[in-house]
């Protein structure tokens, strides 16, 4: 065992880790931004709104993240949409995460008592303002913990981007393995970096949970 291959290529691991974090961060923001309106649509009375949202949730949760990534990178050019590797990876990962995020947000919205909706309506507050100012702040307590742990899953999932030609942490590692042939040292290092990123995120999650405990 010789970890020189790691110390000689520290810049490469650093670049990969930054790229992993960036992809995961953008994916998290996009998937939550997409999931929130879908979660609201899912429980609307109109079937034209609730059915598409339900169908999206099911497809997103029943399909492997890797299949959605391949779809975004290899499949979309088939209908004339060409995305570069990084945007394609972010699109695939976001589609995959959005289905779960939708269900977390729905659970949060449903945990707010019905009477809160009724009271807002009785006071003549428009539905959108009621959601934004009254319902969502209360739902945050239920929503934040699973969304934050989903961020760790997105970090893990972002490794799949290496399979659609993205040079994030795992991609850089695979390239380095292919010309140094030191898989043991390189993969152990990569695993340690992922664990370090996760630990940082879990501390951030505890901070968020404290922050939203009193809503």
């Amino acid at each position: 065992m010789n970890f020189d291959v790691v110390f000689d290529n520290l810049d490469l691991f650093w670049r990969g880790a930054v790229s992993t974090f960036t992809i995961a961060f953008v994916t998290s923001v996009l998937s939550v931004a997409a999931a929130l309106p879908l979660a609201v649509m899912r429980d609307m009375r109109s079937p034209f709104l609730s059915w598409p949202a339900a169908a999206f949730s099911w497809v997103s949760r029943a399909t492997p993240a890797l299949a959605l990534l391949f779809f975004a990178y290899y499949g979309l050019p088939g209908i004339g949409i060409y995305l570069a590797p990084v945007p394609a990876a972010i699109l695939g990962l976001s589609l995959s995460a959005a289905g779960y995020n939708m269900e977390f947000i729905r659970a949060g919205l449903q945990a707010v008592p019905r009477t809160q909706y009724d009271a807002a309506r009785a006071l003549g507050i428009p539905y959108r303002a009621a959601l934004r100012r009254i319902i969502i702040p209360q739902a945050m307590r239920v929503i934040v913990p699973p969304l934050a742990s989903n961020l760790t899953l997105v970090i893990k999932g972002s490794a799949l981007a290496s399979l659609v030609a993205v040079s994030e942490l795992t991609g850089e590692a695979m390239a380095l393995i292919s010309f140094t042939y030191k898989p043991f040292e390189i993969l152990i290092t990569v695993a340690a970096i992922y664990l370090a990123i996760n630990s940082a995120l879990i501390s951030f999650q505890h901070y968020l949970e404290r922050r939203f405990r009193f809503g």
Binding site: T63, P64, F70, G75, K156, L160
Partner: protein, 229 residues
Amino acid sequence: MDEALSPTMDMIISLWPRFLDATLLTLAIFVIVSVMSTTIGLLAALATIGAGRWLSMVLAAYGWVFRGVPELVILLFCYLALPQLGLDLGPVGAAVLGFTLISTAYEIEIFKAGLAGVHRGQFEAARALGIPLPSALRRIVLPQVVRIVATPWITYATGSIKRISIASAVAVTEIMQVTKQAIAFSHQPFTLILFASALYATMASILMIAEIIAARRFKQRFGLSTELP
């Protein structure tokens, strides 16, 4: 419409035997991994009942690693790094080992939560009645654990079957790998990926429906057992 569809249908029909083999391989890996990780996870969770703190610490470290590192990195390790240490399992063997290591980490958590959900008084009552621990576990504790863990176990299994797609990265000819090979010569990526996704989605959907049924069926009984003092 027939004319537009038929080349695509012909391609799917000609590839069907390969996709069928790939689906069966996916299912076989899923079953082997599930059986092994459930057995080991249950035994490890049971062992924490009587054992000291060191075992809990070892299991916590194990869970931290195998639930924190991406599945792809663990599979690559089993496929590329283990042969260097003299353990060459081949693509399928490496994938089965990797997924079993990962799933075991989650099954331990599922069964630990299940055991924690059984009231301590049940263990004490069994002991007071002179029932030996092994038969108390088998006849009294485990039937209750099964009800508690049924839903989370199926939820995890749904994710588990989807994750087998990652084995395509270590040359296992499961569904995504066959899809990649077919794309290379047929140039119909859109249809092929849609078809592969449908195969995975069908398997996942069966488990998702089972999850809903289990959640309904065990809700009442679980609710009853928590009402006991």
